[in-house]
């Protein structure tokens, strides 16, 4: 896939007989189509971070406009000693890891189920995609009110119905969100993200070299062996891709936390916590310091992640 680009890339790097002016002109002609997008991205995404960095060293609360000034590292000290921030870090890790892992495993299982010919396969695939196509706020609202609600939600309604079948009029009616707030958020997100993982893994399964698998089968390999030593290694890069992209989106999740629990009951993740410091406490200095710390943390993690992606795309190029 990258062969086109690489070939052309080496051409430009080759020394040319023409004098410097012409070469410069041609280099700029190459760069020209790229510049609008690049400049736009730098202005809209990098400049704000510079501003965030500056504000993080300031005493700035919109409620006390007169006290604006230089604060040194005060905001950072406050963020590091803030129990809520530490909880938020932990919640973010749990939420992201939980959703990514569970939806990857479920997605793999369902992709394997759908990688066979059976009646209505297209219909099942279409049904599976539906959760991903519900607007996230709408999905969170449906889970909160139409499914989890202890009085009229579908879950407790189903419990009443099943208990009723056995003649019992005393079914358990748990308050799902209060009893397990973080899991309530995780389940609703797993429901939305499993289709995403399933689609990527199914595409991976369908790109398997079937003749090799057939050969292994003839050589007497059993299904578990084929899965362990052929299917899984082939799927590895698709699993990594799904995990990476899923993490990028879920680590930033705001909609589900905001809607289902409003950050209460220990479900406030980092995006929600920073939103709160900024939007409700109006403490701009502290919100910026928190943001700076999150950005640094993200850069550290993303460096590893980017290495994965670049190896992924290189492998793809080799094929």
């Amino acid at each position: 896939m990258t062969s086109v680009a690489e070939q052309a890339g080496t051409q430009t790097e080759a020394p040319r007989p023409s004098p410097g002016v012409a070469r410069k002109a041609s280099a700029w002609a190459r760069r020209a189509p790229l510049l609008p997008a690049l400049i736009f991205m730098i202005i809209v995404t990098q400049l704000p971070f510079v501003a965030t960095l500056v504000i993080s060293f300031m005493d700035w609360n919109a409620y006390y406009p007169d006290e604006r000034g230089f604060a040194g590292f005060d905001n950072f000290v406050r963020v590091f000693t803030d129990v809520n921030m530490r909880d938020a870090v932990w919640t973010t890790i749990l939420l992201t890891a939980g959703v990514v892992l569970i939806s990857l495993v479920l997605g793999l299982g369902i992709a394997l189920l759908l990688d066979r010919k059976f009646r209505g396969r297209g219909a099942v695939r279409t049904m599976m995609i539906a959760p991903f196509l519900v607007v996230p706020v709408a999905a969170a609202l449906i889970w909160k009110h139409a499914l989890y609600n202890p009085e009229y939600g579908l879950f407790n309604g189903a419990l009443t119905w099943v208990w009723g079948l056995f003649g019992s009029d005393n079914p358990p009616q748990p308050d799902w969100i209060s009893n397990m707030p973080l899991w309530a958020v995780i389940f609703s997100l797993v429901w939305q993200w499993t289709p995403f993982m399933m689609l990527i893994l199914l595409a991976g399964l369908q790109g398997r070299p079937l003749d090799v698998i057939e050969a292994a089968r003839i050589d007497g390999a059993n299904n578990w062996q084929i899965f362990r030593s052929m299917t899984l290694p082939h799927l590895r890069q698709y699993l990594e891709l799904g995990a990476l992209l899923g993490s990028i989106y879920i680590v930033q999740n705001f909609d589900a936390v905001f809607t289902i629990t409003s950050g209460g009951l220990g479900t406030a993740n980092l995006p929600y916590t920073i939103y709160q410091i900024f939007y409700q406490a109006h403490d701009y200095g502290r919100a910026s310091a928190a943001a700076v710390i999150v950005v640094i943390g993200t850069i550290i993690i993303a460096t590893f992640a980017l290495r994965t992606v670049s190896s992924l795309f290189k492998e793809e190029g080799r094929r």
């Binding site: 896939m1 680009a5 052309a8 280099a27 190459r30 189509p33 790229l34 609008p36 997008a37 690049l38 736009f40 809209v44 400049l47 704000p48 971070f49 965030t52 504000i55 299982g109 394997l112 189920l113 990688d115 066979r116 209505g120 279409t126 049904m127 995609i129 539906a130 959760p131 991903f132 196509l133 519900v134 607007v135 996230p136 449906i142 009110h145 139409a146 499914l147 009443t160 009723g164 289709p195 995403f196 595409a203 369908q206 079937l210 299904n223 578990w224 084929i226 705001f254 909609d255 905001f258 980092l270 995006p271 939103y275 939007y279 701009y284 910026s288 943001a291 999150v294 993200t298 993303a302």
Partner: protein, 286 residues
Amino acid sequence: MTATAVRTAPPGQKKEGRGGAWLSLLAWVVGILFVLPVLWMVLTSFHSEANAAQNPPAVFAPLTLEGYREFFSGGASPWPPLLNSLTASIVSTAVVLLLAIPAAYALSIKPVRKWSDTLFFFLSTKMLPVVAGLLPLYLFAQYAGLLDNIWLLIIFYTSMNLPIAVWMMRSFLSEVPVEMLEAASVDGAGLVKTLRSVIAPVVMPGIAATALICFIFSWNELLFARVLTATVAETAPVFLTSFVTSQGLFLAQLCAAAFVVSLPVLVAGFAAQDKLVQGLSLGSVK
């Protein structure tokens, strides 16, 4: 479960035994479980409020448009937010494509020297937490008088989707065979002619996939829309947040609202299922 599933793979094999039938049944059950909340949302939206709030659920209750009537004309009209969402999504998608296609061209067909670094710069902006850029954008908007202005959202949505679009378009443009480009240049075809007759036919489906993904992500966005807009430029997801706290009997109306707001994405997504996979994997899975 996974092991048994493999037993009957790969597709296109001979007749399957009873195990295969059970696996097909399992696939159906799982599919129905996943679609059930969506179906429940649609069904409840057509029930009366009293029936929607029954326990055990009143599945076969008579259907009514009460919930939709209440949603569209009960309180604040949902039309301005829906139109705002439509404007923001369509305009930002168009701008993204205008910026991303030339950029992707400069990263694949006639690449700049450090095309790989540039590509990863675009992706890295996607990894930075958006919430960290929220405050400066808000302060800037306040200063520039752009709060509650749909154009500010359009600019932000463009920056949110541009990296994805650049990655996708680069992956699609890289598929244009070198031989075709060479043949075109031997024939003396100019840039415009090459673009039109060689490149466009190959990448058109890619452009459609990119547009679909950008549209969906813009339509869904909540955090920035909530912070940067108020009554004038409010988008549909922000409008939905008025349902976060329960207000007596409101489940049917809520389901109607959730369904109406999700409808454009559901229609577009179902219509272009294959494009969805390409788009979500940044064009790496085809």
